[in-house]
Subunit: 259 residues, 2 copies
C-alpha cells in the first residue's frame, strides 16, 4: 500500500507490508530477537513466513522482549513481494507456527511508512506477582512467586513516584543501549486480583529491564525493606546500584502497542 | 482429633487426619486417581507424603478428575500415625511436590469423621472455551479452542434448562458407575470474559463426564446446530446418544468444594 506521506519503500519495489499482532509464551525462547544460541520468537516467525511464502524476510517487532517474557500483544511488521490477503497470511502463519507457543491474533496490510517500532506512540506492560504461601501450579513460569505478604498500599504509593518524566538510569540495565535514560511514564497501576498483584505500566518507550527493575524495587517497598520515598532517592542517585533487584522475566507480559 | 459424633477411626488407632486444598495442572497426569499406566495426582501426593513421613497412606479426594482436567481447589484427606503440625505438612508436601505441577494451598487437622468425598455438600467446576479465530499460545492445554463465534445468549438460556433436579442419563458417560442418574444442579452461569467463555456450574455431586457433556451440548447451541430447547428434549430422551459431544478435558477446572 503506497503511503500518503510518500516515504514508503513501495516507490522502489512493489512490496506489501503486513502488520501482525502476536501472542506468545516466552518460556521456551531466548527472547524476541534472533540469536544463534537458541530459538527466538522473531526466528520462528521468519521461518513460518519463509515456509508459506518462500520469501526470507526480516520481521521487525515493536519491542524486544527478554528470554522468558510473554506477550499478549506484541506488534511486528514485514514486507512480501507476493501479495496475499491479510486473512491468508494470518491463517498460513498460524498453521506453520502450530508447534510453537506463538500465534498471530490479527493481521492487516498497512502503508509502507508504518514501522512496528518507530511508529509506536505508546506501549504497555503488565508484571504479575503471585503473592501467596504456596508456589504456582497452574501459572508456573507465568508469575514471580513471592510467598511473604506484600504491602499493596505502600507499593501503589511508591509506584506513583515513577510516573512522569525522569532520568531512569537507576532502573535501566547496565548494558542498555538507549541514547538517553530520560523517559516519561504515563501510568503505573498496582492492583490485587485474588492472590496476584498486577503492575500495569504505560509509556511511549522503555529502557532495557526498566519494568523488571522498577518492579524489583517495588517488591522491596512491599516487604518493608524500603520506604515508598526511597524510590525518589533511588531515582536521584542515577546509578543502577542504587536500585533494587531485577524481577525475573517470567512475570512480565508485553500487553499492547498503540500507534 | 476425636470427632464429636464418635464415628471416627481414632477410637481404634491414634491417627491424625489432615485435610488439604490442592491446585494442579492436569496436562501431565492420567487423572486424579492412581493408575498403573502413568502418573496420577493421587499418586504423586501419596509419594510426597511417604517421602516426608515414611508412612504409606491412601489419599482420598473430593472428586476424581480425568486426564488433562485441572484443579484450583481439589480437596483431599489422609491419616498419619505421627503427629505433625498442619503447617509442617503443607511445607513438606510442597517441597516434595516441587517437580510436579501440584501444590498444597492449605492444610488443616480435621476430625476423624471428616471425609473429603462423603462430607462434601457442594462442588463447583468451571469450563473455559477460548472463542477466537486464533489458537491459544498463553493458555494452551488450559482451554477448549473454538474458532467460530458462539452465540452467548443462546448458550446462557439453554444452560438454565440444566438447573434443578433432572435425570442426567443423556449427559453421563456410558461407563458411569453412579447408582442414580438423578442429580440436582444449583447453578449454571455462562459469561464472557474478553475472548473466553466461562461455564460455572455447582451441585452437590456430578456424574462422570457430566460437566463436559453438558458443555459439549451447549457448544452445539452456541453454533446454532441446536436450539436452546433441544436441551429439554435431550434430557427427556435419557440416552447418551441424544446428547452432544463430550467437551475435551483441558478446558475443565475443579474449582471448589464446600463442606
Amino acid at each position: 500500500m503506497v503511503c500518503p506521506c510518500q516515504k514508503g519503500r513501495s516507490l522502489i519495489l512493489p512490496m506489501t507490508r503486513y502488520k501482525i499482532l502476536v501472542e506468545y509464551e516466552g518460556t521456551p525462547f531466548v527472547g524476541w530477537q534472533f540469536q544463534t544460541n537458541g530459538i527466538s520468537v522473531q526466528g520462528v516467525l521468519e521461518e513460518a513466513i519463509l515456509n508459506f511464502s518462500q520469501e526470507r524476510v526480516r520481521v521487525e517487532g515493536a519491542g524486544r522482549t527478554d528470554a522468558g517474557v510473554h506477550a499478549h500483544g506484541q506488534v511486528a511488521h514485514f514486507d512480501l513481494l507476493k501479495a496475499f490477503t491479510s486473512h491468508k497470511v494470518q491463517e498460513a502463519l498460524n498453521f506453520y507456527l502450530r508447534l510453537h507457543p506463538v500465534v498471530v491474533l490479527a493481521c492487516e496490510i498497512v502503508e509502507d511508512c508504518f514501522h512496528a517500532r518507530f511508529s509506536a506512540i505508546r506501549r504497555s506492560y503488565r508484571y504479575i506477582i503471585l503473592n501467596r504461601q504456596s508456589p504456582p501450579a497452574l501459572v508456573k513460569n507465568r508469575v514471580w512467586w513471592i510467598p511473604k505478604p506484600l504491602n499493596l498500599g505502600a507499593m501503589e504509593h511508591a509506584a506513583q513516584y515513577f510516573v512522569g518524566q525522569h532520568d531512569f538510569t537507576t532502573f535501566r540495565a547496565t548494558g542498555c543501549q538507549a541514547s538517553s535514560p530520560v523517559k516519561t511514564l504515563d501510568r503505573f497501576d498496582v492492583q490485587r486480583y485474588e492472590d496476584q498483584i498486577w503492575f500495569d505500566v504505560e509509556a511511549r518507550s522503555f529502557l532495557h529491564h526498566q519494568v523488571r527493575n522498577m518492579v524489583g524495587s517495588l517488591k522491596w517497598v512491599g516487604e518493608g525493606k524500603w520506604q515508598s520515598e526511597t524510590i525518589v532517592q533511588a531515582l536521584e542517585q542515577k546509578s543502577r546500584i542504587a536500585g533494587g533487584p531485577t524481577a525475573p522475566p517470567e512475570g512480565l507480559y508485553f500487553l499492547k502497542v498503540i500507534y
